[in-house]
């Protein structure tokens, strides 16, 4: 079949791994080394208002004459920073709580399960919006709101994994030789449940990027003059009739990174052979 030869393994690996990896890598690079570039994302230049893309400024200028390219990179930093913090917060908090709960079992576990159920009873994004609304706008509050919502999925996953592993031979053996609980958790359980957690985290990054952009789109995230892809899209939609580049570029950037994170998650899941979690819809 000549058609499917197109999708031979080499080709597919390029598509499934290297493409998303390069997108994520350049995103992370731009975000981390932002200070090295001499960018002026906030510099207002009234003479350049809504200037279309040109040779000198590839992506043109926005409604205040600020360079869109610079703001895009500054927005990359915002999304990178927020999603990294949110996922790190979620994985560490959720992982530790989930593992401990499963390990300790008994009434602690029962209470924990109920708590998780209640948190999962909120549609995630809705709770994040309400929390961000209550805490007030600002990047710190966005991280807090998304973190509060995000840890539950990881906790539930970690708990489920540990319950399945708890009676594995090496854990029972460690018990038998009198290893302290923290040692069992950190040395014998956590390494084994890392794979599904990593898969979940890579999808979590995609979710966090969209959520941050969504909150900023609603005006609950970064505040002017700071740049976020979400707020750039929101501002861009107001001028999409006259300057479509303002809404197209941040949207493309956002979609590319989210797509890359999702593809990477898919690849990791297949590679690490983790079964698709039906809980993903919840978190």
């Amino acid at each position: 079949m000549s058609k499917s030869e197109l999708f031979n393994s080499h080709h597919r690996l390029t598509m499934r791994l290297w493409l998303p990896l390069s997108i994520i890598a350049s995103w992370a690079f731009l975000a981390t080394f932002l200070p090295l570039f001499s960018l002026t994302p906030d510099a207002i230049d009234l003479t350049n208002i809504l200037a279309p893309p040109s040779l000198e400024h590839w992506l043109g200028h926005d409604e205040l004459g600020r360079p869109v390219a610079d703001r895009l990179i500054s927005g990359a930093q915002t999304s990178f920073f927020v999603s990294l913090c949110v996922v790190a917060l979620g994985v560490s908090l959720g992982g530790v709580l989930g593992v401990s709960s499963a390990y300790l079992s008994g009434w602690i576990d029962a209470v924990f399960v109920r708590m998780v159920d209640i948190m999962l009873a909120f549609p995630g994004l809705l709770l994040a919006i309400a929390l961000a609304g209550a805490l007030g706008p600002g990047i710190g509050n966005v991280i807090l709101a998304l973190g509060i919502v995000g840890w539950v999925g990881y906790a539930r996953l970690a708990r489920g994994q540990v319950l399945a592993l708890k009676h594995a031979d090496h854990v029972l053996a460690a018990h038998a030789i009198g290893a302290p609980p923290w040692r069992i958790i950190f040395h014998h359980l956590l390494p084994l449940i890392m794979a599904p957690l990593i898969v979940e985290a890579s999808f979590g990054i995609a979710g966090a990027i969209i959520a941050e952009a969504g909150l900023s789109f609603l005006g609950l995230g970064v505040q002017p003059p700071a740049a976020s892809w979400g707020s750039m899209i929101r501002d861009g939609t107001r001028y999409m009739l006259v300057s479509p580049h303002l809404v197209i570029f941040p949207g493309l950037a956002l979609m590319a990174v989210v797509l890359a994170a999702n593809m990477l998650g898919d690849w990791l899941r297949d590679r690490l052979d983790v079964k698709e979690q039906s809980s993903r819809g919840k978190s």
Partner: protein, 310 residues
């Protein structure tokens, strides 16, 4: 069966109770003095005191909680600080509008996801499969608030087929429902694919094929109904995403539902309305999930009614 029913309903009620407690605490999450935040800084002390009293924020917290809870039992959600209207009335106006959008989106999502997922599963590892799954991946990755404006541009301005926004005429629901539906269709299509693949591998399917049933008929007659079962649960869970996503989509399309109410209330610092909207959406979500679970139990003959929720 009764045991399952009772435990499931009890756990749903517990979840509702928990949601009420958390929503109650929302107003106390406001940094600093919530009354000051609601009125704006440098508010008159007398204004602050009267609002504090009106909201009962001058009482000890357990008493506040009890008053809030008692009010809910009487379906009294308080009054809006902004418009002075009863919040219950506001919700009753907005709920059907959001529900309508959600249901149409659900129809869009299923209508898109079913053929995509089926084709992908039946033609596994062919360009068709990759195409469908690639499409699904795109659908998952396009944010609502980007797709919405693009759809407005194309569907309302260039083609002129649909109203730009708001709820006017029967066709105004199309664009927001497409926006919401595609994101959900993407996830659904992936689930349908893997679910159908799983069923295709099972014994009864091999038997059916061995009996000479054409593979299309085998899939439609035997595989699909079985594959749809796990998807039912997912559908319930997805509705949560739908209701959450509706907040953004309603903002983009000025769709006068609960989500828009909530965003406006946040902008108006009308926190009692925010609380009520969150409560309302979450409770709907719990109830829908309860119903899908019960439906699942009723549909699936294999289920054992001794366990609680999985």
């Amino acid at each position: 069966m009764t045991h399952f029913l009772v435990t499931r309903i009890l756990s749903a009620m517990l979840a509702i109770f928990g949601v009420i407690c958390l929503v109650f605490l929302l107003i106390h999450l406001i940094p600093g003095d919530p009354v000051e935040v609601m009125l704006g800084e440098s508010a008159q002390p007398t204004d602050k005191e009267s609002l504090r009293h009106a909201l009962g924020l001058d009482l000890p917290i357990h008493q506040q909680w009890w008053i809030y809870f008692k009010g809910l039992l009487h379906l009294d959600l308080g009054t809006s600080l902004f418009s002075g209207r009863a919040i219950g009335d506001l919700l009753i106006e907005r709920i059907p509008v959001t529900l309508y959008l959600s249901l149409v989106s659900l129809v869009v999502a299923i209508g898109l996801a079913l053929p995509l997922g089926l084709v992908a599963a039946v033609r596994q590892h062919t360009p068709l499969d990759y195409g469908a799954m690639g499409f699904a991946l795109f659908g998952m990755s396009i944010p609502n608030f980007w797709m919405g404006p693009l759809l407005i541009l194309v569907g309302a301005l260039w083609l002129g087929w649909f109203p730009v926004s708001g709820q006017e005429g029967w066709n105004s629901v199309v664009l927001p429902a497409l926006t919401l539906g595609t994101a959900m269709a993407a996830i659904l299509a992936r689930m349908i694919r893997s679910s159908v693949l799983e069923v295709l591998g099972e014994d009864f399917m091999r038997t059916a094929r061995a009996k000479g049933l054409s593979s299309t008929r085998a899939v439609l007659q035997h595989a699909l109904p079985n594959a749809l079962l796990p998807i039912l649960t997912l559908l319930g869970l997805q509705l949560g995403g739908l209701l959450g996503g509706a907040v953004i989509t309603e903002t983009v399309f000025a769709w006068p539902g609960l989500g828009l109410l909530m965003i406006e209330a946040i902008q108006q610092r009308d926190y009692p309305v925010v609380q009520a909207a969150v409560l309302c959406i979450s409770v709907t979500y719990i109830v829908v999930n309860l119903l899908t679970d019960l439906l699942y139990a009723w549909l699936d003959p294999r289920i054992q009614f001794t366990t609680g929720d999985g």
